[in-house]
Amino acid sequence: MSGHSTYQPRSPFMQWMERRLPIASLVYSSFVAYPTPRNLNYWWTFGGILAFMLGVQIVTGVVLAMHYTPHVDFAFNSVETIMRDVNYGWLLRYLHANGASFFFVAVYAHIARGMYYGSYKEPREVLWILGVILFLLMIATGFMGYVLPWGQMSFWAATVITNLFSAIPVVGGSIVSWLWGGFAVGNPTLNRFYSLHYLLPFIIVGVVVLHIWALHMVGQNNPTGVEPKSDQDTVSFTPYATVKDSFFIGLFCIVLAWFVFYIPNYLGHSDNYIMANPGQTPTHIVPEWYYLPFYAILRAIPSKLIGVTALASSIIILAFLPWLDTSRVRSANYRPLYRQFLFIFFIAVIGLGYLGSQEPVGGYVIAARILTIYYFAYFLIILPLLGLFETTRPLPNSISESVLRSGVPVGASAPPPSGARR
């Protein structure tokens, strides 16, 4: 749906360049002239926020890697050296650690927006699946990054998570030794996690390029779920989307700065300031907060193999969402029942997150089981049936019609035109 490139190079150099490598017109058609629905709300800014956060993580990460020592005897102290003796090392580390958390805040908002407005539906299935792959890559990268400071939680999280693979029948034990590079989590494990933690972000960059490419083939979804039909339905990416994204990135940075500068250890675990000790198991091993819902699903099931299968399925199932949701209507705004089930789903995920942080005893286990059943029932039973039985509300004929009917363009926060200001 890309617009015709109207980029006309003016300078002789750019004309020369255009005939050899038309990169300027590619950027122009992708990020300037690209038509974007005029009714996008602020939930659509999280894509830009994610791109921004990926940049922040790579820049801070590359500098941290200049000072970090990937060795079991030195890793913990090298992180403390960064905190104490490297110029602004505390800022780099706290930005990187809290940045990872906020990367996940943004990706969860981005996924929730996709689910609410049905952004995974035809023709955006490949775009959505690429997003699920990005989410998986983020999970792997975040997990390996958490191991690097080599604190107690780093070590024991690595032990618990790599041990999950031992549930695989026959080859499980061999896979775990292969992951460890030995017979326990040790120096070879730390070294390969460091290597992969440096590699995966660049694979993420590559998949992000595919994600954006796929996006620009099919165009953005919008709050009505009705495709743009004419130029009245769209605005150009620059300046309209650019300035709106920038504003929200600014707001996002304020919240990030709140954590980085004032409560930098709030999202971490105090046990990770104790150096890894293979001889002493912490009383309560918990992963980072952004994995807690999946951790709760794992622990809700008594059988290890089934638990691990459920854990993997709970993420993989997202890739099948375009086909599990049978409704032809995209936006939850026109699907009253779907909307309620979806909000219950969001509450269930938050509930699982809380349960994942608690010890699996008594009522917590029962609660986790109920919420796990709802998690899977939502995808496998509710969504397929809902599309067949639900009575949806009438859709607007076009984006511009919905914008004009509500009086205020949904995407704009400015008041309705009541006389020109200047």
């Binding site: 800022l91 304020i254 709140w258 500068f261 300031y273 009383t283 089930f341 509930g351 035109p417």
Partner: protein, 294 residues
């Protein structure tokens, strides 16, 4: 198919699971009482005099058993710390004996500490510490104040994010030093252990380290265990996070910048979108685009 009924069933099942959460929530009777810290909150900075008193307590009491390996003598003279001069820090360093070497004869040797040295540990290795202390290993104190916390649970942990409270580590250290009480009836204190109501499990290996009047204060501050505990906890917080004052100062500047910049971005956004509404020709003057489903 009755969706309303199935929705009610699901909602009540979820409500039941949430009440399960409420029932199992732990009681907070052994929670370390929260103290007033000069370094709490967005503008809270370390109190120089308190850090100096805390250092005195560490040096005269804690350092007999606890190492402080990551802290250097030069840190005592760093800005945002106890405010020693370089000469004072060098004097402190010289009172410690540091193992150096090997020398030209291949021998390790002892020499007085220099300002560039880290605090030497009281025992040459963990095994020596265990041998001297009846099998117990006192933890290194370099990041101890960040390595201890208390799980307040919901809703306090949400409130703490807004009031910017993250002083659970020093609270715990202060509480622990004041937590040596008689064990409750029926509590079996293991041999060689002590009862401490704030130590997880209740039985701590460390004997009560402080008593009133043990460390002399010259600035008129009361020489009580309560005050010692507060001062040494503040000192250990600084030892764990010596860059905190710089962080909060820079944070304030960054916040001001971000709020002003984001405000300007908001006004720009408003202006740009408003112009397009007042004059739709701004949108229609674009070259035409093909919409596949148009």
């Amino acid at each position: 198919m009755n969706f309303h009924r199935s929705r009610i069933i699901i909602a009540s099942a979820l409500a039941a699971s949430l009440s399960g959460i409420a029932m199992t929530a732990a009681s907070a009777e052994d929670a370390p009482p929260r103290q007033h810290w000069s370094f709490a909150g967005p503008f809270g900075l370390y109190d120089e005099a308190q850090l100096q008193r805390g250092f005195k307590v560490y040096r005269e009491v804690c350092s007999t058993c606890h190492s402080l390996k990551l802290l250097s003598f030069r840190n005592l003279a760093d800005p945002g710390g106890p405010g020693f001069t370089e000469a004072q820090a060098a004097t402190v360093a010289a009172t410690f004996q540091v193992t150096d070497g090997p020398n030209d004869q291949g021998q390790m040797f002892q020499r007085p500490g220099k300002i560039s040295d880290n605090f030497p540990p009281p025992f040459p290795n963990d095994q020596a510490a265990r041998a001297a202390l009846g099998g117990k290993l006192p933890p290194d104190m370099s990041v101890l104040a960040k390595a201890r916390s208390y799980e307040w649970g919901f809703p306090q942990f949400v409130i703490d994010a807004f009031i910017e409270y993250q002083e659970d580590g020093p609270d715990y250290i202060h509480a622990l030093l004041n937590g040596y009480t008689d064990p409750p009836a029926g509590f079996a204190v293991p041999p060689g252990g002590q009862y401490n109501k704030y130590f997880p499990g209740g039985a701590i290996g460390m004997p009560k380290p402080l008593s009133d009047g043990q460390v002399e204060y010259t600035d008129g501050t009361p020489a009580t265990v309560d005050q010692y505990g507060r001062d040494v906890a503040a000192f250990l917080m600084w030892a764990a996070e010596p860059t905190q004052d710089a962080r909060k100062r820079l944070g304030f500047q960054v916040m001001i910048f971000l709020i002003v910049f984001t405000g300007l971005l908001y006004l720009t956004k408003k202006r740009v979108w408003h112009a397009a509404e007042v004059d739709p020709s701004l949108l229609e003057s674009r070259p035409p685009t093909e919409y596949p489903r148009g």
